[in-house]
């Protein structure tokens, strides 16, 4: 039995942890090598050891969903939310049919107070598995948070009141892929003081949410569209091993499709494109060379730092993370897709970031604005 809420983050968000039953070990009989060891280490709270073990595992099986999922969990435990987000994001791209990475992504976003992103992720989790109770409860909490933010804006009040505790639950296992009867996501193993919503209500409400596509921009993953109203977990992949060996190329292709659909139209290599590409190279070079001043100068005055940070706090943080980083940083990007409309441009690309101990690739969207003949970043988004 895991401890209750042993996740604690700097934001004071308490995560409700789902306990990790003994059944889980049995749920992954086909797991190769040392993943059970990794799980044991996690259970014992030995995260650095767990991390090196899972990294070793992933070195030989880089695509393995379970291994990557555990890595995401470990990074979350190690309080490395951005790296954990990168891991879970990549998982949702490669395995859009799995609800758990979406859920955990949402938990991480919620910790960072990025509730819109959390909402989108949870709605995706529910879309893939309409009966996913944890995702529903989490979504309820995210809606409440979003409501409170909306009220702040409406009434010009600051509701960052400390009493409003967030209690999003992190999912700790890829249960939906286990196919093990009895290991249902609704398992009310969560010892919650709060009365759990009644089952019928949950069924009725979610169905509505799932069928009426909300305004949230949803990455098109038609393949993942589930047959609704199947309370029991339907699994096509009977074991984790199957997931691991599933040729990811098709998955990845499907996931990548939406990103590539737009640029299919021949992008005009006009002057604007060229200027933007240049700005982008300059930006990445400044980052790589740790020229923080130059790097920050690529962000326009309208740029809103994430998490409601002040510009100054954000700049300081960037300075710490860039200039303060030991060792070499390398930031490169794949050919960007540039959409220009007037003085605004949306630039999408895959960013490769390498630094000692961390190497990530993520899909990035920059919104840039032209001012004074220069293209400056006004919004930055990692997906």
């Amino acid at each position: 039995m895991a401890t209750k809420s042993f996740f604690r983050t700097q934001t004071g968000v308490t995560l409700r942890a789902i306990f990790f039953g003994a059944a889980i070990a049995a749920a992954f009989p086909a797991l190769a090598d040392n993943l059970p060891d990794v799980q044991k280490l996690i259970k014992q709270g030995q995260y650095p050891q767990a991390l090196s073990k899972v990294d070793a595992f992933l070195a030989s099986k880089p695509k393995d969903a379970q291994g990557r999922f555990l890595k995401g969990l470990i990074l979350t435990e190690l309080n490395k939310p951005n790296e954990a987000i990168a891991v879970f994001t990549k998982l949702t791209e490669d395995y859009p049919e799995l609800p758990e990475p979406y859920n955990n992504l949402a938990v991480l976003y919620a910790q960072q107070k990025q509730y819109d992103k959390a909402r989108t992720a949870l709605e995706m989790a529910i879309r893939t598995h309409p009966a996913y109770a944890i995702a529903y409860e989490n979504l309820g909490d995210v809606y409440a948070k979003l409501a409170s933010q909306a009220y702040d804006k409406a009434l010009q009040i600051d509701s960052s009141n400390p009493t409003a505790q967030n209690k999003l639950a992190l999912i700790r296992d890829l249960i939906s892929t286990s196919g093990k009867p009895g290991v249902k996501p609704q398992m009310p193993a969560v010892a919650k003081a709060e009365p759990v919503k009644t089952e019928p209500a949950k069924q009725a409400e979610p169905a509505k949410v799932a069928t009426a596509p909300a305004a949230a921009p949803v990455p098109a993953t038609p393949a993942a569209a589930p047959a609704p109203a199947t309370p029991s977990v339907k699994t096509t992949a009977p074991t984790a091993a199957v997931v691991a060996t599933t040729p990811t190329t098709t998955m990845a292709a499907a996931a990548a499709a939406p990103a590539k659909a737009a640029p299919a139209a021949p992008a005009k290599a006009d002057a604007g494109n060229e200027e933007i590409r240049k700005a982008l190279s300059g930006w990445a070079a400044a980052w790589s060379n740790k020229e923080v001043k130059t790097y920050l100068a690529y962000y326009g005055p309208e740029f809103k730092p994430p998490k409601g940070m002040s510009r100054k706090a954000w700049e300081t943080q960037r300075e710490e993370r860039i200039a303060g980083k030991g060792g070499k940083i390398s930031v490169t990007f794949d050919e960007p897709t540039i959409t220009i409309s007037g003085d605004k441009a949306t630039v999408k690309f895959r960013q490769h970031y390498k630094a000692p101990g961390l190497s990530t690739s993520s899909n990035k969207t920059l919104v840039m604005g032209r001012s004074g003949g220069k293209w400056l970043i006004v919004d930055e988004d990692i997906r």
Binding site: A147, I157, A212
Partner: protein
């Protein structure tokens, strides 16, 4: 659970709708004199609904419609009434994409999101929400929806715009109770509706009397200047247009105060509550920009009313003809040098330029005695009815006076008041 929150929201929507109807009917009963006045808003809901339909199909219209966020707001409430909360949320979110600083929409979004997690008790269900701010936003919602549902009919015109002078291209009419500003174009003297916009008035309402009373004046004014954004603090938004409060009539009534402007909103605010200013008329920046194009400095009339009275075109024509006849009689009676007949056009309570009626009459008798002939021409005439319970019209024209011993040209303004059924001049002077 979901059902209950729906019901509550439904109750809210109905309550908003009913609030509108109630306000209308109460006004109707109050105003027995202007029977026609409330007919104009009786446009069926179908027309605006149809107008809203193109919005439904077009994904996020980028062009600014004169009607602003109202059509979409109406659809949000419609969706709530139909228990379609998902659609309502979707509509609200798309509304916010267009108007990111629209606080009312943020409040509705908060309610719709909260309704997904628990039953809510009504509009502005935020825990610990300041009640005054919620009440403000509720009033704004009611004002916007009512205005949307009662667009002025093409066959009715504001009673005030009896005659615009040829070079006045537009006239502004403000209804403080409805929180609405109407723009009319001068179509060969006949006012033609152009657009209407949501506005905020003084915190304590209309009928300004004195400096600092936080009220918006009621009367016939015109814009006197244009203050560009660069000269103003962000508070005034995209610009300001002062009006000539207190005008001659206000001063004579002992009203004072200054600095009544039409102006915009701070950059972080799409719109302010219906009662928010210190007496100014406040518009959303985009709306101010839109009307700014139609404002002629020193010329464009701005008529502010508590509650605009509307006339059918027939009634409007009748009133206009009657006044034109009266003015013509005044002019010819002056030319006739029959001083007593001329003086019949003046009220016993006439007061202007430090003279009362007796002093004015004595002077006219003396002056006219020396005249062998008088010619009076009135050109570029405008006639605006002064809003309020007294029947007063404001007449402005270029007067060309010539006689055997004096020629004089001036811009003249007169206030006429109906006394015992007859129009009499109670004030006149240089404009």
């Amino acid at each position: 659970m979901a059902g209950r929150s729906k019901l509550l929201l439904f109750a809210l929507a109905v309550c908003l709708a009913a609030g509108g109807a109630h306000a209308n009917s109460s006004k109707q009963s109050k105003k027995k004199k202007a029977k026609t006045s409330q007919k104009a808003p009786a446009v069926t809901a179908a027309a605006p609904l149809a107008a809203a339909l193109p919005l439904a199909t077009a994904a996020l219209p980028t062009t600014v419609s004169d009607s602003g966020p109202e059509p979409q707001l109406a659809r949000v409430f419609e969706a709530i009434e139909q228990n379609n909360l998902d659609q309502a949320l979707q509509l609200t979110e798309s509304l916010l994409k267009q108007y990111p600083n629209f606080r009312l929409a943020h409040l509705i979004r908060g309610d719709l999101l909260l309704a997904r997690t628990k039953p809510i008790s009504g509009f502005g269900a935020a825990a610990g929400a300041p009640t005054d701010k919620v009440a403000d936003l509720r009033e704004e919602a009611v004002a916007r929806l009512k205005a949307y549902r009662s667009k002025p009919s093409a066959n009715y015109v504001p009673r005030y715009l009896l005659q615009m002078q040829p070079d006045q291209q537009h006239a502004i009419v403000v209804d403080t109770q409805k929180s609405r500003l109407y723009v009319y174009a001068n179509d060969n003297g006949r006012p033609r509706f152009v657009a209407d916009y949501y506005i905020s008035q003084g915190k304590l309402g209309a009928n300004k009397v004195s400096e600092g009373d936080k009220k918006t004046p009621v009367g016939v004014y015109h814009v006197t200047a244009s203050l560009p954004r660069q000269k103003l603090s962000d508070f005034y938004g995209s610009g300001a247009f002062p009006i000539n409060y207190p005008n001659e009539w206000d001063k004579q009534q002992g009203r004072n105060g200054h600095g009544i402007w039409l102006h915009g909103t701070p950059s972080d605010t799409f719109s302010r509550p219906p009662k928010a200013s210190d007496g100014c008329v406040v518009l959303a920046n985009r709306d101010l920009d839109a009307i700014a194009k139609n404002l002629q400095i020193g010329l464009t009339p701005v008529i502010i009313s508590n509650s605009v009275e509307w006339l059918s075109l027939d009634d409007w024509n009748k009133e206009r003809n009657e006044l034109n006849k009266t003015l013509e009689a005044w002019r010819t009676d002056w030319e006739s040098r029959d001083t007593e007949r001329f003086l019949q056009h003046y009220s016993r309570s006439f007061k202007a330029n430090g003279q009362n009626f007796e002093q004015f009459a004595a002077q006219k008798r003396q002056v006219n005695a020396s005249k062998q002939w008088i010619k009076v021409k009135a050109a570029n005439l405008s006639v605006f009815r002064n809003p309020g319970k007294d029947e007063v019209v404001v007449v402005t024209f270029e007067q060309q006076y010539s006689s055997n011993n004096l020629d004089n040209a001036m811009k003249k303004r007169q206030y006429w008041k109906r006394e015992d059924g007859k129009w009499k001049i109670i004030y006149e002077g240089a404009a």
